[in-house]
């Protein structure tokens, strides 16, 4: 298994290098550069010397030299550079932001499963009944309702009806776990609802498929109770593709987190990428995108490894 993990990690390296190269070059090649923005920003200063600024930012050399400098600094010194506007280091900005997105994402996925799995299982066990139809309609409704709209309604209507607005002031989990969870629950529910629809449908389909297998008939024939047949025999086998779906949803959870963080004003990775791209903060954008790329690759490997835990037939070579 360790061999498998090492090989996957080694294979990921060229992909990540290519990915960063694409981001690094595109953001620099396209007009409206940070220098123009800075010139406007600092236009009140007399005799501003743009060449000095350009040199200080390291933008006076060709793009490929800049790229090798950036990669070199990361590999040799573990230095991801500084924000071009605030000169705080990229590492410190990211390490402040990622716990927010992580907590939001994990909570959203947990909530999404709490909604999706029971309804999906129920819907499969009572196939083609009214409950099933209702559950399936809800599943598609959850997919169709945009998260930012729900978030807007949650902000607007309680305030109109009861004069109550959800107060979203970021509380770090390490400082006050309960307060932090309480604050995150609303954004996480909004984010989780969207993902729950597709998981619900996947669970239902897989349950139906597994329920027709021979070993399930055997389990019934042995005289096992329904609970045992469902949990031990059906569910365990049906959940394997569901794990894939959850893994595949992670990028969209992160994408959704960008919108949700903006609405609720949470200082997470989503807001960081939004502000740094508007400011053309090249080093910050490159750093954040590198973080995303590495994160997604690792998540994909972890998802693949969970198959081995769920399905004893899977072996890693």
């Amino acid at each position: 298994m360790w061999q498998y993990i090492t090989r996957r990690l080694l294979l990921a390296i060229p992909t990540i290098i290519l990915a960063t190269l694409i981001v690094f070059i595109t953001i620099r090649l396209i007009p409206g550069s940070i220098l123009t923005l800075m010139e406007q920003q600092y236009s009140y200063i007399q005799n501003i010397n743009m060449d000095v600024i350009k040199h200080n930012l390291g933008l006076d050399v060709p793009v490929y030299v800049q790229y090798f400098r950036w990669v070199g600094n990361i590999i040799l010194h573990g230095d991801f550079g500084k924000s071009m506007w605030t000169t705080t280091s990229v590492i410190s900005e990211i390490s402040a932001a990622w716990p927010v997105t992580l907590e939001l994402g994990i909570l959203a996925i947990i909530i999404s499963q709490l909604i999706a799995l029971p309804i999906g299982i129920f819907s499969a066990l009572r196939q083609d009944t009214w409950g099933d139809y209702l559950a399936r309609s809800f599943a598609i409704l959850f997919i169709a309702i945009p998260g930012f709209w729900i978030a807007t309604l949650v902000m607007v209507f309680p305030s109109i009806w009861w004069g109550w607005t959800p107060s979203i002031v970021y509380i770090p989990f390490v400082k006050d776990p309960i307060g932090s969870l309480g604050m995150f629950i609303l954004p996480a529910v909004v984010l989780g609802l969207n993902g729950s629809g597709s998981t619900m449908r996947m669970t239902r389909t897989m349950m139906l498929e597994v329920m027709r297998q021979d070993y399930i008939r055997t389990a019934w024939a042995k005289g096992l109770r329904e609970r045992v047949v469902v949990t031990r025999h059906t569910l365990k086998n049906a959940l394997i593709p569901v794990v894939t779906i959850i893994g595949m949803q992670l990028p969209s959870v992160i994408g959704g987190a960008v919108i949700i963080e903006t609405i609720f004003g949470l200082p997470g990775m989503g807001r960081l990428i939004v502000t740094s791209t508007t400011q053309r903060d090249y080093t910050m954008v490159s750093g954040v995108m590198l973080f995303f790329a590495v994160g997604l690759v690792l998540i994909n490997i972890i998802v693949d490894l969970t198959y081995g835990i769920l399905d004893p037939r899977v072996h890693y070579k």
Partner: protein, 324 residues
């Protein structure tokens, strides 16, 4: 639309000879008979198309006409859904927003699916070094969460409908190329392709006449799934202020920006654009789902040409145990 539906239902009652009908008509009949929710979705989709097409005739006011005196007016006979903070009629803006959604949904999905088809077919069919090279780029692209890379590119290109369409189309097109590629690899070993090569068919001819028709089902399914995705992503982008710039009436944009400050006084501003959006995405998804069931590659067989197989496909389909 209801009239059109009942017409086709009636005609299905009178004309029972399957072979005389063209494939799309037969599909439509199957849709109405077997998928009531899918039919409802189709009606919603058609309504969206018509509203988008005839927005000029349907809207009571021009979408950007400010009736300053009636700003933040509650829903009434004059303004059925109320007005916004600039006194613009919400109903008219939602009707014109449908046009934006139609264009973004259809053109975006078209770009996306075309890109997927071209990339996927070339990679899958030729394989080798070309495939290896392109797939590494696809890998690199898929390293990033879709929304994040779209945001980065949009902030560079600037706001605008065509920018949104292009960026969304390319983003989903690149990841979708994987699906087409595996479909092409799946049919590559088939004897009919070897036969086509053996009788001296040129590569473009083989691709157009033998490969493409056989991967059409997944492509149509991808298209039907791409349309609601595009509509949803566009509204999300416009909501964040990276999509279609005001005053163009986009459903996402109507929920964002300066409008948010006035929603507490005029809650109807927060409700209707979202209802329209959810309704349309729901409908198009339902329609796409039904389409997928009908086009499912396992059941497709020789639909359209071989009468025997059509019957077989129908009998498999009517098996009550088939999961959806």
């Amino acid at each position: 639309m209801k009239i059109a539906n009942s017409n086709s239902e009636r005609s299905s009652g009178i004309n029972t000879n399957r072979k005389t009908r063209s494939a799309p008509v037969r599909m439509l009949i199957r849709l109405i008979k077997e998928k009531p929710l899918g039919t409802a979705g189709a009606v919603i989709t058609l309504a969206l198309l018509l509203i988008g097409l005839f927005a000029n005739q349907l809207a009571p006011y021009p979408p950007n006409a400010p009736h300053v005196v009636d700003a933040l007016a509650a829903p009434s006979a004059k303004y059925i859904l109320g007005t916004d903070n600039l006194g613009r009629d919400l109903l008219s803006r939602i009707i014109f927003g449908a046009r934006i959604s139609v264009v973004v949904g259809l053109v975006g999905a078209l770009i996306s699916v075309s890109l997927s088809t071209i990339l996927g077919t070339l990679c899958g069919y030729f394989g080798g070094k070309f495939d290896l090279l392109v797939q590494r780029f696809v890998d690199a692209w898929m390293c990033f969460p879709g929304m994040v890379i779209i945001l980065v590119v949009m902030s560079i290109l600037g706001q605008g409908m065509w920018q949104v369409i292009l960026v969304l189309g390319i983003q989903t097109g690149i990841s979708g190329s994987r699906v087409v590629r595996s479909a092409v690899i799946g049919i590559k070993g088939n004897v009919y392709l070897q036969a086509a090569v053996a009788i001296g068919g040129s590569t473009p001819q083989i691709l157009a006449k033998h490969v493409l028709p056989n991967i059409l089902a997944p492509i149509i399914i991808m298209f039907s799934m791409a349309v609601p995705n595009m509509i949803m992503s566009e509204s999300g982008l416009s909501f964040l202020g990276y999509g279609i710039p005001p005053p163009t009436p986009s459903w996402g944009g109507m929920l964002s920006g300066s409008a948010r400050a006035f929603m507490f006084m005029a809650p109807w501003m927060a409700i209707w654009p979202g209802v329209a959006l959810a309704f349309v995405v729901y409908g198009v998804n339902m329609f796409g789902d039904a389409l997928r069931d009908i086009l499912d590659p396992r059941l497709r067989g020789g639909v359209g040409r071989y009468g025997v197989k059509v019957k077989k496909a129908v009998s498999i389909k009517s098996n009550p145990g088939t999961p959806q």
